[in-house]
């Protein structure tokens, strides 16, 4: 089964996009969405300038680690910045512009066809996922249509999906923060913005649109890549992934567990664990599988070289796994200092770039030169191989540190929220 369809070589992405009539439709939609969201932003910014500035800065800063994490998901075959920006822009401007009237109308329809009570309890759980997941998935489909060659693995679908979701999440969070300011009725105050930032950005951020759309993206990635499968099967998998995204979003927005547990830390943890964790684990499992399949393919390209200067057998094993790549960088730092860590990172990146170029039968000399250069740096520093530590103790120490840091961060955010009256 084909895990990866190598992107074609020849011509720049920019030139390819500009020749695509479909790209100009995307550009027009992005421009229209940008005008609409900017108009809303200007209106809110005029009303609450300080709160607007605070919200924009805080959520823009929050987007940075999310962006970095999503890009790093596909370490081996990184997506072009232009397409990632397009995906982010679709989520931020197009999907949000469509979801505002569509979501409100569907919420009204729940009230009209059901009852106001049904809409109060389940309106957000039914209307928002339905409209928003479709609007965001349309963005992933648009990327696949204008740059099909760059959606060449399921993991690519995950990355573009997550990027669309991230754009949506950031704009929605800013609008929610300004809504909290308006509702507080205390004028242009930053406190409701900070409470919204802690609640929606930190505590609920991980389980939000980035995650849901990544799941939808995995399905669209499968539909685009697995051309050896029957249409029925490809569409079925894409539909199942969409249903998963919708279901995860619906569960998160549903009134289940909203009442009865109070407003304390226990209630918060229960909501995070029961409503947020299942989709998070599902998408992490899917990302892991997609990553491993893609890694097997690209590492397989490098293993055919049998060139120890380019990559050793132990480095091949390390390059295959995200956690082992990180462990190799950490190990280099511990053994030979920060310069070795940087050299290992550059070496791994060049090895990945070389694998991609080999798969496309493209020009690989630039990556070979970079590998030679970083290899000589590592030899000079006395750490010639980019490998992870031979014992597992370092790995466990890093994992324990990550778990403790997460627990402490959640506790700090919760205390801060309580102090701000946001719980």
């Amino acid at each position: 089964m084909t895990a990866v369809r190598p992107a074609p070589t020849g011509g720049t992405l920019r030139a390819g996009l500009l020749r695509q009539p479909a790209f100009w439709v995307v550009a027009a939609l992005l421009a229209a969405g940008m005008i609409r969201i900017t108009a809303i932003g200007v209106h809110l910014g005029t009303e609450y300038p300080r709160a607007m500035l605070t919200a924009t800065v805080l959520f823009a800063l929050l987007a940075v680690p999310f962006w970095w994490f999503v890009v790093e998901l596909d370490f081996l075959e990184r997506e072009p910045a232009a397409l990632l920006t397009m995906a982010f822009g679709w989520g931020a401007f197009v999907a949000t512009s469509v979801s505002l009237p569509g979501g409100a109308a569907l919420d009204d329809l729940v009230a009209k066809l059901g009852s106001p009570t049904l809409a109060a309890d389940w309106g957000a759980a039914l209307a928002s996922p339905t409209v928003e997941e479709i609007a965001k998935a349309a963005g992933i489909a648009a990327i696949a249509l204008v740059a099909r060659g760059h959606v060449n693995s399921v993991l690519d679908g995950v990355v573009y999906g997550a990027m669309v979701g991230l754009g949506f999440q950031i704009v929605e969070d800013i609008v929610y923060a300004l809504g909290a300011v308006a509702l507080a009725g205390q004028g242009d105050e930053a406190q409701p913005v900070i409470a919204t930032f802690l609640l929606r950005g930190f505590l609920a951020g991980v389980w939000s649109h980035t995650l849901f759309s990544a799941l939808a993206g995995a399905g669209i990635g499968f539909l685009v890549v697995h051309r050896e499968r029957r249409w029925r099967e490809r569409i079925g998998v894409a539909a199942l992934a969409m249903l998963g995204a919708w279901g995860s979003h619906m569960l998160w927005n549903s009134p289940l567990l909203r009442d009865g547990l109070g407003n304390g830390l226990l209630a918060l943890l229960a909501v995070l664990v029961f409503k947020g964790l299942p989709p998070l684990l599902l998408i992490l499992y899917l990302v892991r599988r997609a990553h491993d399949r893609e890694a097997d393919y690209y590492v397989g390209q490098l293993s055919t070289l049998h060139d120890r200067e380019v990559i050793t057998d132990r480095e091949l094993a390390v390059l295959r796994s995200g956690s082992r790549r990180a462990a190799a960088r950490w190990y280099a730092d511990e053994r030979a200092g920060h310069r070795a860590r940087r050299a290992v990172r550059r070496l791994q990146r060049a090895q990945a770039g070389l694998a991609v170029e080999i798969s496309r039968s493209g020009p690989a000399e630039r990556h070979r030169d970079e590998i030679r250069q970083q290899r000589s740096v590592l030899i000079r520093l006395g750490h010639p191989e980019a490998i992870d530590p031979p014992t597992a103790s370092g790995t466990w120490r890093r994992r324990a540190w990550a778990v403790i840091s997460t627990v402490v961060a959640v506790a700090v955010v919760w205390v801060a929220l309580s102090a701000l009256g946001g719980s």
Partner: protein, 187 residues
């Protein structure tokens, strides 16, 4: 400009399909929504629960607009319409006194471009002895009244809006309804 290939044409058609889906969401859904009636009859003799246990007797001749009515255990809202007059009651958790609640509502009213609070704020007492504050505001082409009550850790905000003539005709019915507001401890 080169020749458009078959693949590019197929992608363009696919993209137009995407546009059609977006149009369905952004234009189609609101059109379906607008085609269906939003008003439901309510009895002026039967208490309507707004949310969090707060109830009110709807004004005579009013209908309930279900698009802005959202009852709930912790908060809620109910929008009644008397012809062109909007009568909205919103209940939410509130930890403060009635002056603070009124200041918050006034800030939101005046936060809307063109809206201004008029006259002085006066005291108001419901049929159940709950004291609140009321006042008036103007907006381009319309006038409004507001009232705020605080009890049982809740605030109930009442806003009434309509053209001067319409409001004048229906204000007494709305005021009678507002006086019937009852908080959970008074049930």
């Amino acid at each position: 400009m080169g020749k458009v290939t078959r693949r590019q044409l197929t992608d363009l058609l696919g993209m137009l399909g995407v546009v059609a889906v977006l149009a369905g969401l952004a234009i189609g859904l609101p059109a379906v929504d607008a085609a269906l009636p939003a008003n439901r009859p309510v009895s002026p003799d039967r208490r309507y629960e707004i949310g969090a246990g707060v109830t009110v007797l709807p004004p005579s001749g009013a209908v309930l607009d279900v698009t802005a009515t959202r009852p709930g255990d912790l908060r809620g809202s109910a929008l009644f319409r008397l012809g062109p007059v909007r009568y909205l009651i919103a209940v939410r958790p509130f930890h403060g006194d009635v002056e603070a609640a009124a200041a918050s509502l006034r800030a939101r009213i005046t936060g809307t471009p063109g809206y201004q609070v008029t006259g002085t704020q006066r005291s108001i007492t419901t049929d159940y002895g709950r004291q609140g504050l009321q006042g008036g505001y103007t907006a381009p082409g319309r006038s409004g009244r507001y009232a705020v009550f605080v009890a049982s850790g809740l605030s109930a905000e009442v806003t009434v809006a309509g053209a001067d003539l319409d409001l004048g005709h229906r204000l007494s019915a709305v005021e009678r309804s507002t006086m019937s507001l009852r908080f959970p401890e008074q049930s």
